[in-house]
Amino acid sequence: MEKEILEHGLNFNRRRFLSSMSLGIGGIALGSLLMPDLFKNGELDEEALVAGMPHFAPKAKRVIYLFQNGAPSQQELFDYKPKLRDLFGQEIPPSVRGTQRLTGMTANQASFPLVGSFVNFKQYGESRAWVSDLLPYTSKIVDDICIVKSMYTEAINHDPALTFLQTGSQQGNRPSMGAWLSYGLGNENKNLPNFTVLLSRGVGNGQGVYSKLWSNGFLDSVHQGVQFSKGEDPVLYLRDPEGMDRKERRDMLDNLSELNEMSYQEFGDPEITAKVKQYEMAYRMQTAVPEVMDLSKESDDIIKLYGPDCLVPGTFAANCLLARKLSENGVRFVQLYHQGWDQHGNLPFEITKQAKDVDQASAALVTDLKQRGLLDETLVIWGGEFGRTSYTQGKLTTDNYGRDHHPRCFTIWMAGGGIKPGIVYGETDELGYNIASNPVHVHDFQATILHQLGLNHEKLVFKHLGRRYRLTDVSGKVVNDIIS
């Protein structure tokens, strides 16, 4: 296999490839997307030969990541801990807390009283998974998803934790997961960016998002996440100026190409031809993006499935529906961020609204993909950057409390893309504070995602300033138990 890849790569001397290609629309844009970085710095990069195609047969082709930004409380959603209610107001035993470092927000707190969830849980489906009453729609799809209760991370604050989950490192400037996949697998479509980002915000206490989370890092900027936003210009500068129609844009581009061609005749620089191709790709995006953003052709059943919010641009529901459409059109990685999950205080009130915001549409996305036969090849991920503490932050009353950041355990779920459906993986202790079985480190999680897309996380490397970088840094093991 490796030899095949090598030979395949060698047949694609990029320069020959580009020059032999007709001036047909998008040839070069497509070419450079298919063979990303192959001749970076003008030298054949052996490692890059491996990029552009999977290392082995993939289960999934695309990813939709529903990132719950701010860290949703697992105690209120998936990790049912009745014991915590029994121990209401009692101090967390030091043996449980151990030497866990605390955030500056609770480090000076005089006591750490435990608090159970205000919300009730029930078991659902054949898997008998526990889900809280805050997630009525999610409870109906438990047999389609794999709930992982034993995720853990190394960071205890939002910025480094988000960055860690998205790039494998707590510090900035590394490529994001979507960029790695774009680099590793290339593009299936020629009219849309390969890695797109959609933002929304709930009513809960919010934490910002940062463009470094969808950065290409040291990879070519063609792998950068492109943010799609609500409003008339879903991609920055996509819309032609007022008063310019498609025919007029075409006319302008034809003149432009003619002039650039003269320049090419004089200088012979292949960059000039490449530039012309990028203008053509931009022209195609101008049609393709609004088409994919147009939700008016969706059936009533679909609107009903995702809920009425899906017709309000910029909501989580609208973004879920849009995510399906982008994914359906071959976008490799669709990254959603939904802000508002940072419940340091006033948790019962805030989390109820947060959960309502995302529950129906998250479940709808899985159902929708399934009924279209796309769930097998699409990996859906739902979760935040860390968990929350079993003790309260701030004042504890019978009906109100808060929870601080907790890196030692948190819950996420995954669906489709060759992940075992209808299972619950990993357990936490009875106080929901430490992992009791099957811990999954962030790098394990990332290794598993890459694996499902046919990539070996130890082989998907990029050499930068003398070092071979990986999404999983220097660790990570594929979690084989959750793979079907």
Binding site: T103, L236, M252, M262
Partner: protein, 776 residues
């Protein structure tokens, strides 16, 4: 020194097919015939062998003591030649005898259990690499010290055949290489293109019409040099030069973490511009920034210069552990010192001994100790009002200061102005090796010191940042001059003589012209680190002045222009694209310095990504003259950097950067077509031209000249005027009305809207030409 490997590859590229045939006939064991390359007569350790060892062997047999396998080091001769620990009768290397050298036997073993590198490492040696190692052992397996760690000696200027071509020393080195490879340099570029290139390189702005006319009319032999001197004197020179330094110094207008609050670090930027314009010599320039506060009778200006080391990100996220972040700030300074000033990846020794370069983890923390004594805390305040715009230690700049001492600071009002600067504790904070680089896992205590392999710290120097600066500019320091000369070379020629400008270590690229690099570095030091002199040397060379035309033959022989047999042809930096648009349309506001500005930006970018806290949670766009400031003054909010800048590869200023990518994407095409900045400039320039008493053809030609910086050819003018005529014929009044409504610059009265809209389209098309934003 030997010729670099890059060039060998270029030559080999041509000979591959016949060699492949030879190998196919000759032996059966060369399975990899497509990659067969010629092994040079004499093997050079530095150029042929070390890159292989470094890339494929040293992870397990290198400087990192904790990861070393079998006790064997291959980067040090003594270790490689001594008896193997596991088998005292055998040796990894036996000079002259590959057949007795275990290293050779293991890399050629058919037994996968013995094969090196082990298949599990995902690393593999090519047949060519094995051949090189074999021949190197046959020739005695001679080690050499890594080239970059040996202080440069000024080589003599080489002899060339084409003696009439060189204009200064640079050209002899460049031409000699070309002649060896049978290449000839290009002709000098035509005057118009040469002036555009020069003006963009020295001022970041296109030349004015007046300059173009002046230069075209001046046929004296000194015409070009006169232009060089003129451009070096413009204050725009300081602005242009500042940008590479702002990238290196990770300058931004926000604190960078989470809520990402506003900071007022811009007076430091004003100082950088000022320093370049004053032609402050590089040794002073850097010393002030590293240790201005520690200098005898330190001045306010010297203190302001130290803002350099406070440009890093600072958290305002409530709930963090202060010490964790304080350590990050020190780490950031240390890593910048390594990458930006020494050109080495010191950062790799943060958690363990360096895997490739001879830097121990202990040495990392010895360097760290120099930056570990700052009177700062990990978190001083959460996001808030003006008192949070700088963090202690800080300096206050009063209106009085601006009037008397800091005259270059563009302070525009009377409000309190604070800047984060350096300042040390009275008693030294102890520094420990941090195990695995973790802030709360201190190991042994260390004293300030520098990596021995570069240059041991001279105990005559004080053990503080001032002493560190003296060490940096010690004539025996092998890196400082080479690294900065290379960064400037990259500014003018598009890529460095060492392509990996931030890594001169074992894993970095080898220099394409080692003798030239050493000559330039030595000469730079001999002339007391005079930056303007060095810049002038580069841009007056014949090498720089060549035309950028790429013949098929040259493209095939030297696709990456390593031999510099043609002028550099590159898309200009993000900031200069904006400058070009504003300048050519006459909109440019030439104010220097001051607080950053908020020009047009698509709605909702900041608002969509914020927690809602702080001054930068809502984008309140500026109006009037602020809209037309140079690109470098656009406010950089780190978590949501200005979009057009990022699309054109500007640094996000997260960490020290010494080299920008140069990409070409469809998003860039969208910016040039639809960004209101470009459209507004098109309208304003069109309106101006329409007020002149010229015919359509002359108007189009003038627009072309202003934007592309040369007169159009008849063919080009033909296409554009035909386009204009067609637009004029088909433009509907309501369309015209919409078209010209872009931007806040007032509409010119008494101009026919239809005509204006038609000409605006033509101007906008010219802005979109590939050549417009390219220096060629």
């Amino acid at each position: 020194m030997k010729s670099p490997i890059d060039m060998r590859r270029t030559l080999l590229f041509l000979t591959v097919p016949c060699l492949a045939l030879v190998f196919q006939c000759r032996t059966s064991d060369s399975s990899n015939q497509a990659k067969e390359e010629k092994v040079p007569e004499e093997i050079s350790y530095n150029f042929d062998i070390r890159p292989i060892l470094s890339d494929k062997c040293l992870v397990c047999h290198g400087p990192d003591a904790n990861k070393r396998e079998a006790g064997l080091r291959l980067d040090v001769a003594e270790s490689a030649f001594q008896a193997l620990k596991e088998n005292p009768k055998a040796h990894a290397l036996v000079a002259g005898k590959p057949e007795f050298s275990q290293a050779y036997l293991r890399i050629t073993s058919k037994d996968t259990a013995l094969l090196m590198p082990p298949p599990s490492s995902n690393l593999k040696l090519t047949q060519h690499e094995i051949n090189l190692i074999e021949k190197w052992i046959k020739q005695g397996a001679k080690y050499e010290k890594h080239w970059a760690f040996v202080a440069p000696k000024k080589p003599s200027v080489p002899k060339v055949e084409q003696e009439e071509w060189p204009k200064n020393e640079i050209d002899y080195f460049v031409l000699q290489k070309q002649e060896q490879k049978g290449l000839k340099p290009n002709e000098e570029a035509d005057k118009e293109r040469l002036l555009k290139r020069l003006s963009l390189d020295l001022n970041g702005l296109p030349p004015s019409l007046q300059m173009m006319d002046e230069f075209l009319a001046d046929n004296s032999p000194k015409a070009y040099e006169k232009m060089v001197d003129k451009l070096l004197k413009n204050t725009a020179y300081g602005e242009k030069m500042a940008i590479h330094w702002l990238d290196l110094a990770r300058y931004a207008d926000s604190h960078g973490y989470q809520d990402d609050g506003y900071r007022t670090q811009w007076p430091w930027r004003d100082w950088v511009i000022h320093a370049f314009n004053q032609n402050m010599h590089y040794n002073d320039f850097v010393t002030w920034q590293l240790a201005g506060d520690l200098m005898p009778n330190s001045t306010k200006e010297q203190l302001l210069a130290t803002g350099f080391n406070r440009n890093h990100k600072i958290t305002e996220e409530g709930g963090v552990i202060p010490e964790e972040y304080r350590i990050m700030y020190v780490t950031d300074r240390n890593d910048l010192f390594g990458k930006g000033l020494l050109g080495v990846t010191l950062e790799c020794a943060h958690c363990h001994d360096h895997k490739y370069d001879p830097f121990s983890q202990k040495e990392y923390y010895q360097m760290f100790a120099f930056f570990n004594n700052v009177k700062e805390v990990g978190i001083e305040s959460v996001i808030g009002g003006p008192e949070t715009y700088a963090k202690k230690p800080l300096m206050e700049i009063s209106n009085e200061d601006v009037k008397n001492i800091l005259t270059f600071v563009n302070k525009q009002d009377t409000s309190r102005l604070i800047v984060s600067v350096m300042g040390d504790l009275d008693t030294t904070r102890k520094t420990y090796i941090l195990k695995r680089g973790v802030y709360d896992a201190p190991g042994d205590e260390v004293e300030p010191g520098t990596p021995k392999s570069i240059l041991p710290f001279n105990n005559k120097y004080p053990k503080n940042r001032l002493g560190l600066s003296q060490w940096l500019f010690d004539k025996k320091n092998p890196l400082t001059a080479r690294v900065y000369v290379n960064i400037l070379w990259q500014e003018f020629f598009g890529k460095g003589i060492v392509k990996t400008s931030g890594d001169f270590g074992m894993q970095g690229e080898l220099p394409s012209h080692p003798a030239l690099l050493d000559w330039l570095a030595s000469d730079f030091m001999e002339h007391n680190w005079d930056v303007k002199r060095l810049v002038k040397q580069m841009v007056t060379s014949a090498t720089y002045r060549q035309s950028a035309v790429i013949t098929k033959e040259k493209l095939a022989m030297d696709p990456d222009n390593i031999l510099l047999a043609r002028g550099a042809r590159y898309r200009i930096n993000a900031e200069f694209i904006k400058d070009l648009v504003l300048s050519s349309s006459g909109l440019l506001n030439k104010t220097i310095g001051g607080p950053s500005v908020k020009p047009y930006q698509p709605a909702g970018l900041w608002e969509g990504a914020t927690s809602g806290r702080g001054l930068l949670s809502v984008y309140n766009q500026d109006h009037g003259a602020s809209l037309y400031r140079r690109g470098m003054y656009t406010l950089i909010k780190r978590t949501v950097p200005p979009p057009t800048m990022g699309i054109f590869d500007a640094s996000n200023r997260d960490l020290c950067e010494v080299k920008r990518l140069k990409t070409n994407t469809p998003l860039q095409a969208l910016v040039m077509m639809n960004d209101p900045t470009v459209l507004e400039a098109s309208r304003v320039l069109a309106a101006k031209l329409l007020q002149e008493k010229t015919d359509a053809k002359e108007k189009v030609a003038k627009a072309f000249r202003l934007i592309v910086c040369r007169k159009p050819s008849d063919k080009e003018l033909g296409v554009l005027t035909a386009y204009y005529d067609k637009q004029l014929k088909t433009m509907k009044p309501e369309t015209a009305q919409k078209m010209i409504a872009v931007g806040e610059y007032p509409l010119t009265k008494n101009v026919d809207k239809k005509t204006l809209a038609a000409l605006m389209r033509v101007v906008s098309t010219i802005y979109n030409l590939e050549e417009t934003i390219t220096k060629s």
